[in-house]
Every structure is written in C-alpha cells, then in structure tokens.
C-alpha cells in the first residue's frame, strides 16, 4: 500500500484518454471497439483501486459487472460488424455515410 491512490488515478486517466483519442482517431470499427475496451479497463482499474483503498468490496463487485457488460457488448458489437461486413465488405466507419443531415 505504498503506492498513493493518486497514481492509480493518474494511470487510469491517461489510459482513459488514450482510449478516447483512439475512438476519435481511428476509422476501423473493430479498432474503435478495442479503444472502448481500453476505456472500460481503465475504469475497472480505478474501481478496483478505490475499492481496496476504501476497504469496501462494492467496487470490485462493480468491476465484475463491467466485465459482464463488456462481454455482452463485444458479442453484440462483433455480430453487428460481421453483418455489416457482409453487406458493405468494409468496416471503415467513414464509408457509412448514407445518413447525413
């Protein structure tokens, strides 16, 4: 417990921002999904750290649920991507511009 909690905070913030940056930068839908996973993982890390430092198990339980949701999300997301690949033969999100105002 010698590591101050602020360092965990800093680490997850940086990871989160990398994830956000990835979502903004990349165009491949699968990679976007990976970047979202990075974001969720940074949250997981933060929750787990707070949980230990608070001495409260709720945070770690929350992490389980985030994992549950992440798994479900990935399943749905990849199914969507596969379906789209069949129709468009690409996973580049910028080519999906049928809908523009």
């Amino acid at each position: 417990m010698k590591i101050p909690i602020e360092h965990y905070l800093l680490l997850s913030t940086v990871l989160f921002c990398i994830g956000v940056m990835g979502v903004l930068l990349r165009r491949n839908a699968i990679i976007l999904l990976m970047c979202v996973e990075i974001m969720l993982n940074s949250v997981n890390l933060l929750m787990a750290a707070f949980s230990t430092y608070h001495g409260d198990a709720a945070g770690q339980i929350f992490v389980f649920f985030i994992m549950v949701v992440a798994a479900a999300e990935v399943a749905v997301g990849l199914a969507l991507i596969v379906m789209i690949y069949r129709n468009f033969k690409t996973t580049d999100i910028n080519l999906f511009n049928k809908l523009k105002w």
Binding site: L33, F50, D56, K98
Partner: protein, 462 residues
C-alpha cells in the same frame, strides 16, 4: 419487483415461442402479458410480500438496489408506451418476419432495462439498467439486415453508446472514489453534508456522468448521433427509441441530479440551463430544414429533450410532476405520429401530400399529434409545456423566453407537415389502416385530448 420479474419472465416466454415457430401467437401473448403486468403494476406497493428469492433476500435487499415505487409515474409511462408500440409492431415488424418473436423479446428486455434505469437506488443498477435497455436497442436498430441504413444506424448507435458508457462509468468510478459508496442515499448524505474533501474528484465524476447521460438522451452538444440513428433504424424501433428510451434516460438523469445531487443544485443548474437552451435552439432550428417527416421527428425529439432539460435545471419540488406530464404528452404524440408513419410507410413530406383525401382519419390523427407536440391548447402538449414553464420560470426566466421563441419556430415545421397532409395534391389511393394501428392511434389521440383537458390524474401519479 413483481413487475420486473413478470416482465422478464414474459420476455423469456416470448423468446421461447420463437423457438417453437408459433409466430402467430406471439403478439397476443405479449399484449395480454403486458396488460396483466399493467394490472399488477397499478396496485403498487405489493413488492414487499415478494417471496421469489425469499431464501436469500428480503425486501430490504431490493430496496438497496432499486425501488419501483419512488417513480411509479415514469414506470407506468414506460409500460404504456411499450404496450402501444408492441401493438403497433403487428405491422411494424413485417420486415423481419422470421424474427418476430425475438424482436418482441428484445423489446421486453429493453423495457426491463428502462424500468430499472428509472428506479435505481444504487449506481450499479443505474449502469445495468441503461445497458440492459441499450443492448437490445443496438440489435433492434440494426435488425433490418438487408437495409444499409438500418445496419449503419445499428453500428453508429452501438459505437457511440459504448463510448458514452465509458464516460458514464468513469464518472461513477470517480464518484465512488470520492464518496466510498454506490448507494444514492449515502451519496446524497455526502453532498448534503458538503464534505469538502476530494471535491475535485467528485465534481469531475459528476461531469463525466453528466456527459454519459446526456449522450444517452441526445442533448446538445452530444446530440449528433440522434438524427442519423433515428432515421436509419426501422420505423417501429425509432418510435421505441424516441419514447421509451427517452423516458428512461430522463428518469435516470432526474434522479441523479434532482434526487441525489439535489443539494448541489446551484452548481450544476446553470450548466443544465445552458445545455438546455443550446439543445432547444439546435433541435428546433435544424428541424426546420428537414424534408423528411422521420428526420423532422428525430430533430424534434432533440428539441423536446431540450425542453425537458429545463426542468432538470430548475431543480424544484415540482420537477417530477412536470417531467411525467411532459413525457406523457410527448410519448403519446410521437407514438401517434409514428403510427401514421408506419401505416403509410413513407418518410418524406412529399409522400404525405394529399393524405387528407386518402384517409381523413389518419390525417386528423397526424394533425392532432403534431399540434400537441407543438404545444397548442387544449392538447396534452400544451399542458406539459405550461407546467414546465411555471416550474422553471422562477429560477430561469430567460430560459423560458428562449423556450417560447423556439416553440414559435417549431410550429413552422409541424405546420409544414400538416399543410402537406391537407392542402397539397398528391396520390389519391386510399390508405388502409389495420385494426391494431387504429386502436393505437385512437388511444393516443384520446389520451392527448384527455390529458389536455384533465392532467390531474397524471400529476397525481408523480
């Protein structure tokens, strides 16, 4: 709790029916089930004798996680809107005939999520509720597999939804770090006692949660996905998104800010006021330029989100009432409009030319629903707006002025559609309306008029 268990059991049964290819019975079963559940739900307060998991938990355990009673108005609204859209789906799911049962099951799951999202007492349930609501929606939005825009809408919604979830979760994690709990009562105590320790973290958490929730309800500046997703999704799913999901999103938002963070209202109230003004202006002004009814309804839903955000900013005692009334009026109005859209199957204004000659009643229904959305008395939309304005006026008079200016703009695009329906020449073939749709439209229109004339019962609900 019974309501939620019943709803999930109904969803599972529906799912099973798909397995046994009993497609014809799906709709009656779902409708009857929902009616039964509504009947149960009307006798709120019986959750306590719930013994379904009696071995492990007592009612106290449920209350620690969520409490349906605290928000019965919105729960009822979700159930009723869900029921109406389910009946509409008789026609609306034609594009995916093979998956009729699956789609109904998904819709019911989504409703479960919506109910959880408006009745959470623990941040974990907020998160789970929003996810249970959203994941079926991603699938439903993309469910018209061979339609490119539906695919695109599904993927866009999914990616942005997941992105927003990231923000929401980061916010929740920071709030947890500052307060040490996920329970809203404890967080309320924390805010109430104004403990200044680690305030920066707490505030940052609130900001991130706000971003996540604003994404979900489609408020400016996070609204950009709304029109695309709404337009691309199949009509029936769009009607679901713009009603049930909006209700749940606002329920969640209001209990987060006006319930849990009530003591800090001064601090975030102004932010919400500005966001609300921006949303109203953007939504209404952009809606003016649309040439498609569906897209216009999408932008107008952004605009309505702006009006509703006014209440969040106001943070007064009457907020829940105002929100329930406004959401009821808004939901009934948009369901009626979407029912017309689904019946004709056409999206552009031009396709509505001469609707009055093709089917007088359909045109009357469209007119009444649009006028209600615009807030013309004596329809429900007016009562909603009026109550909203009275609630907000004392704190943010300038917001009310912006709201009425944008309302005046909004009347233009609603009128454009009404004009197309009545005054323009178009095709003359009669439109056949299936009996189920007639029923839905009738309920919505009567509801709009009844709510406009006597809103008292709905106000008592909240």
């Amino acid at each position: 709790m019974k309501l939620l268990i019943g709803l999930s059991v109904l969803a599972v049964i529906t799912m099973m029916m798909g397995l046994f290819k009993s497609r014809k019975f799906v709709l009656p079963v779902v409708v009857l089930g929902l009616l039964g559940l509504l009947y149960i739900a009307s006798g709120y307060g019986c959750y306590c004798e719930d013994k379904m998991f009696g071995m492990y938990i007592n009612e106290h355990q449920f209350l620690k996680m969520f409490d349906i009673n605290k928000n019965s108005g919105l729960v009822g609204l979700i159930m009723i809107s869900g029921l109406l859209i389910t009946i509409l789906a008789h026609k609306g799911f034609n594009y995916t005939e093979n998956h009729r049962a699956d789609m109904h099951a998904l819709m019911l799951f989504s409703m479960c999520g919506a109910i959880i999202a408006v009745s959470y007492t623990n941040m974990l349930m907020l998160f789970l509720g929003i996810e249970i609501m959203s994941i079926p929606l991603y699938i439903m939005a993309g469910s018209n597999k061979h339609d490119a825009s539906s695919n695109e809408s599904g993927l866009k919604y999914f990616l942005l939804g997941a992105f927003a979830t990231g923000f929401l979760l980061f916010g929740l994690a920071l709030i947890y770090g500052a307060t040490g709990s996920f329970n809203i009562n404890q967080i309320y105590n924390y805010t109430h006692n104004q403990l200044n320790v680690s305030e920066g973290i707490f505030k940052m958490g609130v900001v991130f949660t706000m971003v996540g929730l604003l994404f979900k309800i489609g408020a400016a500046p996070f609204h950009f996905w709304t029109p695309d997703v709404y337009t691309g999704a199949p009509n029936i799913i769009t009607s679901f998104m713009s009603t049930v999901v909006k209700i749940a999103g606002f329920g969640a938002l209001i209990f987060f800010f006006n319930g849990m963070l009530h003591p800090l209202g001064e601090e975030w109230g102004k932010t919400f006021a500005i966001i609300s003004a921006a949303t109203m202006i953007l939504g209404n002004v952009t809606a003016v330029y649309q040439i498609s009814l569906k897209r216009m309804l999408a932008w107008s839903s952004v605009a309505h989100a702006g009006y509703l955000l006014m209440t969040v900013a106001a943070n007064g005692n009457n907020v829940p009432k105002a929100v329930v009334l406004y959401l009821a009026a808004y939901s009934l109005g948009s369901i009626a409009a979407f029912a017309v859209l689904i019946t004709t199957g056409k999206e552009n204004f031009e396709d509505y030319n001469g609707l009055g000659k093709r089917n007088k009643w359909l045109a009357i229904a469209l007119t009444i629903s649009l006028l209600s959305l615009a807030g013309v008395p004596p329809l429900a939309g007016f009562m909603g707006k009026y109550y909203l304005f009275t609630t907000v006026y004392e704190q943010y008079p300038w917001l009310v002025i912006i709201a009425i200016c944008t309302s005046a703009i909004s009347i233009y695009y609603y009128l454009k559609c009404i004009i197309a329906a009545w005054f323009k020449k178009g095709s003359e073939d009669a439109v056949q309306v299936p009996l189920t749709t007639v029923f839905v439209i009738l309920v919505c229109i009567l509801g709009l008029i009844a709510l406009g004339l006597m809103p008292q019962p709905v106000l008592d609900l909240a």
